[in-house]
């Protein structure tokens, strides 16, 4: 047991020293924040896709309430921080458009098929879930492919970027955001069954810790927590290594994205936190005396469908200007209207995904005499 935990400690320290030594103090801090996200998400079982399933299927609103609490905590501090430090910190604002809404809807459906959202896919892969690892491979490819077509999707029909700060002012925007979250929480409480309304202490702690880490991300990186950009960048890097002229595409020719493409991923904010998140989830799984049962083996067809669903997950997250983290969590907590629209569209898609899941994820038949 000691050697296993010593290995986990060594792994975490190595990741921190590696980022610090290779890319400087900000990279080291972002790696630490990412590891923190992984430890909290896996260690305290705080998720996004699962609670969205539970409120629909079991009328269990506790996980969803914890999500809303975390978003509200971040918003309460992020709004004044952004208002006072606009030159140094930027929000997660994006335009509402047809492609964005469609992307969020499809993302919601796909995340129920692979049993994980943006952060959930990384956590699942790191904690040893084979479905999560296969979905992550698809996610990386999909978010890169989505970046190649983003201009087409945004050209369909799109509003200008609208924020609650822009519509109501910094204080008014925060009040509207908190009122919206409170109204949603009331709806969840009304919908949930008795006994499944009040989050347990574990989720209160998780919500507070996730909020603290998200705020640390904003203060250190200058931008809110995100997932998809980093995964798309990894896909672009791999495609480039395979001989694809990625820089010729409109998205990657954009000066900001071209700079990221040419530089090491150790200088990319979302890549660093993604790496840390996966390592943190792995660390929790290996720290436990019992790492948990392996994921139930699926049929080959189901694994192929998981890869495809991961691809769709990444592609649609790119269309939607973010996943549950970049669009829903960070968008709403920094005042983006697109975060609210994303929530509505993705929740509708999630409900469809729940209906499709039994047809996609089919357990492989057990050989005679095998333990069930």
């Amino acid at each position: 047991m000691l050697s296993r935990r010593a290995f986990v400690t060594f792994l975490i320290l190595s990741a921190l020293v590696f980022a610090l030594a290779m890319a400087g103090p900000r990279a080291g801090l972002l790696m630490a924040i990412g590891i923190g996200f992984g430890l909290v998400l896996e260690g305290l079982r705080f998720g996004f896709a699962g609670p969205w399933r539970l409120i629909v299927v079991e009328r269990d609103g506790r996980g969803l309430l914890a999500q809303l609490l975390a978003i509200g905590l971040v918003a309460s501090i992020a709004f004044p921080l952004l208002a006072a430090n606009g030159g140094e910190l930027s929000p997660a604002h994006a335009p509402v458009g047809l492609g964005m809404i469609l992307g969020a809807f499809v993302f919601g459906a796909a995340m129920q098929l692979v049993m994980g959202c943006g952060s959930g896919t990384l956590v699942n892969a790191g904690s040893g879930n084979l479905v999560g690892l296969i979905a992550l491979a698809g996610f990386i490819g999909g978010s890169f492919l989505g970046s190649l077509h983003l201009g087409w999707w945004t050209g369909l029909a799109s509003l200008p970027v609208l924020s609650l700060q822009g519509l109501f002012g910094a204080n008014g925007g925060l009040i509207v955001t908190l009122a919206g979250l409170a109204a949603l929480a009331a709806l969840v409480i009304w919908r949930a069954s008795p006994g499944k309304r009040l989050p347990p202490a574990r989720l209160w702690w998780a919500a507070a810790l996730i909020a603290a880490l998200a705020l640390a991300n904003l203060v250190v990186a200058g931008q809110p927590w995100g997932i998809v950009y980093g995964l798309g960048l990894w896909g672009a890097k791999l495609a480039q290594a395979g001989g694809v002229d990625v820089a010729a595409s409109a998205f990657w020719a954009n000066p900001g994205n071209a700079e990221r493409l040419g530089a090491s991923i150790l200088t990319d904010v979302t890549s660093l936190t993604n790496i840390g998140l996966l390592i943190g989830a792995f660390a929790v799984m290996r720290w436990r005396a019992d790492p948990g049962a392996p994921a139930t083996p699926l049929t080959a067809r189901s694994y192929a469908l998981v890869l495809l669903a991961g691809l769709v997950l990444g592609y649609s997250a790119r269309m939607a200007f973010g996943c549950n983290v970049g669009a829903f969590f960070s968008g709403i907590s920094t005042g983006s209207l697109h975060g609210w629209v994303w929530l509505a569209a993705a929740f509708a898609g999630s409900t469809l995904g729940l209906k499709l899941r039994p047809h996609v994820l089919r357990a492989a038949p057990q050989p005679k005499g095998a333990f069930a």
Partner: protein
């Protein structure tokens, strides 16, 4: 055809190995970051405009 049930630690190590592969490809392609141009530890209070890219980037 079915795959065997892989233990969680094995799948987790595979995920870390994939991460290592991506980092190796990236280092071979882009080289190591220049530490002398590394940004200050905190964006807040740095006086610099945020330069990172986010999922909301277009």
């Amino acid at each position: 055809m079915t795959l065997p049930a892989l233990p969680r630690p094995v799948v987790g190590l595979l995920a870390l190995a994939a991460l290592g592969l991506i980092l190796a490809v990236d280092l071979a392609q882009s080289g190591a970051p220049d530490l002398f141009t590394a940004p200050p530890a905190l964006a807040l209070g740095s006086g610099q405009a945020p330069s990172g890219a986010h999922c909301t980037a277009q």
